[in-house]
């Protein structure tokens, strides 16, 4: 076991929990990963904030399967509520509020069912990651209105994939250990992002989108 970096030792001595330090050091790495997926690969997802926060919500739930279950439940309700609320022709914010309510009730039900089936892991999930995931529905509804249901589902799916990969990156122990020993590594994301920010090449997804054009020019 290598030695913990002096600066982290200092943080710990000042009373900052190790988990918090790791999460904060991990944040730029996950954010850079998402930026890379957008600029170079062409996966859009719901911007950078949503996949990032969902990644951390996954980290905070005990076991990723519960996180994924809640995520999917939220999206399903979002899709369903669009059709249920359509005839009422509601304004945007009240519509989101109703959807949030229904999502909340459903999650509560899930927790109860989980408890009844003795799946205590689900009920033991702390409330903050759950709340984060419930608010995901607003992003979903907004995209639904702007770009339609199909795009919203695709983007939600992309967000889920990114967050799952992000979860595995952030909980990959060699990386965690590396950060504990060399916390400065996280600053490497700055030059990487400068490069990403200047990247003008085609995204990988665009090679597929323009495949026919490239062939026929």
């Amino acid at each position: 076991m290598q030695t913990i970096s002096p600066i982290i030792q200092y943080f710990l001595a000042s009373g900052v929990p190790l988990d918090t330090v790791i999460l904060i050091l991990m944040l730029p790495i996950i954010a850079t990963f998402i930026a890379f997926l957008r600029q170079v690969v062409g996966i859009k997802a719901f911007g950078i904030y949503t996949p990032l926060i969902i990644t951390f919500a996954f980290l905070a739930t005990n076991g990723i399967k519960y996180g994924i279950t809640i995520f999917i439940a939220v999206i399903l309700v979002g899709m369903l509520m669009r059709f249920v609320l359509k005839p009422f022709r509601l304004l945007y914010l009240p519509r989101v509020a109703i959807t949030l309510t229904i999502v909340g009730i459903l999650i509560l039900l899930l927790l109860v069912i989980g408890g009844a089936l003795r799946r205590t892991g689900l009920a033991a999930v702390s409330i903050f990651p759950i709340l984060i995931m419930i608010t995901l529905v607003e992003k979903f509804v907004a995209v639904q209105i702007e770009k339609g249901n199909k795009t919203a589902v695709i983007l939600a799916f992309e967000t889920l994939i990114i967050s799952v990969i992000g979860y595995y990156i952030a909980s990959w122990s060699p990386l965690v250990e590396l950060l504990v020993v060399h916390p400065w590594i996280t600053l490497l994301t700055l030059p990487i992002n400068i490069l990403l920010g200047k990247w003008t090449g085609l995204r990988i997804s665009e090679y597929f989108r323009f495949k026919e054009v490239i062939k026929k020019i």
């Binding site: 062409g42 665009e206 323009f210 054009v213 490239i214």
Partner: protein
């Protein structure tokens, strides 16, 4: 594989669109103008550009409560000011008798209550970027052109033209379909048809973002070969819109109204990339070709767009050099003094400085009088080459101005020896370009071509020896 990578460099992707073109060429102020439909409408109209007429504006809830619904015409379009992607637009085509109920394209009724609700949503920002509160407006509904009737499903097709550096570089006809709900928006499933820039004739087509189609789904209507009317006007409008809006990289949406002709519907500061798929051509390549060119005027820019991106190689060269490409023998059309038009085959001869014309032909063109006069002059014979200059000057001093058609006298040395020839001023048209020529007259009847065109008259041309 190598070819694939090389060709992929001709395509404009999101990253380079944003970083290399939108960022440097579409400044904040210009973008704000494009995103504000009412503002861009006003600006365009002030500059004398045709736009759909504004019927009424609703800015607040109060406006909405006090609105006189009776004042609305039978057909109109209701739009959010900052809407994007065609969202939030409601179009009605007719009104029920004695009732405040309008009819939508799918025949469903629209009541005042429905309109109020829709406007409320617009005001609340349901259709605007990032849900900021918005303004709603009613606009006159454009009349569909007969030509487009079979192609468009319940909506108005429009033509997207990309303009860069004053040059229209690519265009696409967008046809509303059943899938797109009568909206001319590719993302919603409309059809995009590529257009040949030179002629305005459609080429290949896609539906949605990248499904290639040849006919309108469910019909036997071919999508290629549609000739878009008012083509040059459309390109000129787009170029004008760029000048007015200050958007360096612009996507102008232009519709053709039955009575008004081409009108600008909308300006777009972030034009989509699917136009490349519809045209099977790369935008980046085209952008790079016109960037850095000094384009003098609107007319010139439009001309260049048509020439450079209009298919044929010959026209490309003409576009770049601004010169016409002609062959070794070209048809030349004269308009004689007597108004008579004569067309002859002329030999292009870069070995000669001035053009020369057969004397018989000159007679037909009304120069007979001059030729008769010229014969009466006393002209020196058997002179040496060294003397040519002084003789020429003497003759000019003596005779120039003595006959109205005589503009010059020249000594010409050709393979037949030296001759003294009168020169006249005459205009001719070659390959559509008019040339003011100073042509000498000589007997050429035994020669194959009745005229040769010399270097002096070839400044506007490039010669292609085929």
């Amino acid at each position: 594989m190598f070819e694939f990578i090389k060709n992929s460099r001709k395509i404009l992707g999101m990253n380079s669109r944003n970083l290399k073109f939108i960022r440097p060429y579409n400044l904040k102020k210009a973008k704000r103008l494009a995103d504000d439909k009412l503002l861009s409408k006003r600006m365009l109209r002030k500059n004398g550009i045709a736009v759909p007429k504004l019927i009424a504006l609703i800015k607040t809830r109060e406006d909405l409560e006090n609105f006189d619904w009776q004042s609305l015409p039978d057909s109109f379009a209701l739009k959010p000011n900052r809407g994007f992607g065609g969202e939030g637009i409601l179009v009605v085509y007719g009104k029920k008798k004695n009732e405040d109920v309008w009819i939508k394209a799918d025949r469903s009724p629209v009541t005042v209550e429905d309109l109020k609700n829709h406007i409320q949503n617009i005001l609340d920002g349901s259709f605007s970027l990032s849900n900021t509160p918005d303004v709603a407006f009613f606009e006159e509904r454009l009349q569909l052109l007969k030509l487009f009737k079979p192609y468009a499903y319940k909506g108005i097709p429009d033509i997207r033209v990309i303009v860069f550096n004053k040059v229209p570089i690519m265009a696409m006809l967008r046809l509303p379909t059943k899938d797109s709900g009568g909206k001319a928006n590719l993302q919603q499933g409309a059809i995009g048809v590529g257009i040949d820039m030179a002629t305005g004739v459609t080429t290949s087509a896609i539906q949605g973002k990248n499904k290639f189609i040849e006919k309108i789904p469910g019909t036997r209507l071919n999508l290629s070969g549609i000739k878009i009317p008012h083509w040059k006007t459309i390109l000129t409008l787009a170029a004008q819109a760029q000048q007015i809006s200050g958007l360096g990289f612009l996507g102008a949406d232009i519709a053709i109204d039955k009575e008004l002709g081409p009108v600008i519907l909308e300006l777009n500061a972030r034009p989509g990339l699917s136009i490349q798929v519809a045209n099977l051509a790369g935008l980046k390549e085209r952008l790079e070709r016109v960037s850095g060119l000094k384009v003098k005027g609107l007319e010139k820019g439009v001309r260049m767009g048509m020439d450079i991106f209009g298919g044929e190689v010959e026209e490309e060269v003409e576009g770049i050099s601004g010169k016409k490409v002609i062959g070794a023998v070209e048809k030349v059309k004269f308009i004689g003094k007597n108004g008579k038009e004569i067309e002859v085959d002329a030999k292009i001869d870069t070995g000669a400085y001035s053009s020369s014309l057969d004397s018989e032909l000159a007679k037909e063109l009304g120069f007979g009088d001059l030729l008769d006069y010229f014969k009466t002059l006393e002209l020196p014979k058997n002179f040496k080459r060294e003397e040519a200059k002084t003789i020429e000057e003497d003759l000019r001093k003596k005779y120039l101005g003595s006959h109205q058609d005589l503009v010059d006298i020249g000594l010409v040395f050709s393979s037949h020896g030296a001759s003294i020839r009168p020169a006249v001023k005459i205009n001719f048209i070659m390959d559509g370009t008019s040339v003011v020529s100073r042509t000498n007259i000589t007997a050429r009847e035994e020669l194959k071509y009745r005229m040769i065109v010399g270097r002096r008259d070839l400044k506007k041309f490039l010669i292609d020896i085929k």
